[in-house]
Symmetry: C2
Subunit: 156 residues, 2 copies
């Protein structure tokens, strides 16, 4: 993203310090949404959105899942999960079969093609992520992940 260079060029805006601490928290959370959005946009450009990547990764790791399970684990809204799976299915990366035990739900399964695509993505992504998170040291990134995880109640 050009944001990094841009902020360097011009007198970069700063959260003005008089902001009440509580509001600053929220302002920053809101801003971290921008990071996620940028990552999303970039990943989509590369042909595999963050949501799609997460789904493939999870299916690869834990086997067939319902869309419900996927959306709960990955914090992607059910209605959004529909289109994520639509896209993945259209490209042949997953199969949707009705779960015979509960015909309301699907058993979403990763295909061999999906596994190959996943492997590709794993290699192309790190460079971009290094770019996005480069202001932070590896320790700080780990810490950020830990704090956000704690804030969101995902356990220690």
């Amino acid at each position: 993203m050009a944001t990094t260079t841009k902020t360097a060029e011009r007198a970069r805006p700063t959260y003005f310090p008089q902001l009440a601490a509580e509001r600053l928290d929220i302002a920053l959370c809101r801003a971290s949404a921008a990071v996620a959005r940028a990552a999303d946009a970039h990943a989509t450009e590369e042909g595999l959105g963050v949501g799609q990547h997460l789904v493939l990764q999870m299916l690869d790791a834990v086997g067939p899942c319902s869309q419900q399970t996927l959306s709960e684990e990955l914090r992607i809204d059910r209605s959004v999960m529909v289109s994520v799976c639509d896209d993945l299915e259209r490209e042949g990366f997953v199969r949707r079969e009705r779960n015979p035990r509960d015909r309301r739900s699907y058993a979403v399964t990763i295909t061999d093609s999906g596994r190959r695509r996943l492997a590709e993505a794993q290699t192309s992504i790190p460079a971009f992520l290094g770019d996005t998170f480069h202001p932070l040291t590896p320790e700080e990134r780990a810490q950020l992940g830990m704090l956000l995880g704690k804030l969101l109640g995902t356990g220690a």
Copy 2:
């Protein structure tokens, strides 16, 4: 928000640990957007959105500003700032006067009514925020703010 109680009630979803670290970062950033959204929704319910609150707070602290300055400092998009100021002006919390030195820009000024509204909001918000951020200690909150700030290039 009911999120805290809800996560306690039901088998709470967790980011499944096999997630590659890089993706987890982004997944968490994305999820923290949900925190910001929840805060926004709550604040709007109380009659003063987060954006509006931030603007009032800044105008109160640093005096009249152009919309451009406000949107840069507060990381609110220019086009969004238009409607934020529209709302504030309609309710009489700010005045928009043309800057005589540069008639392209406005000098947005907080009114006495705006100051009163700001004072009200300052008292009603902390309770909700304490609830939202209670998983973190004050030190951790400060650290989270620092890390996100660094990630976004707002300086140390």
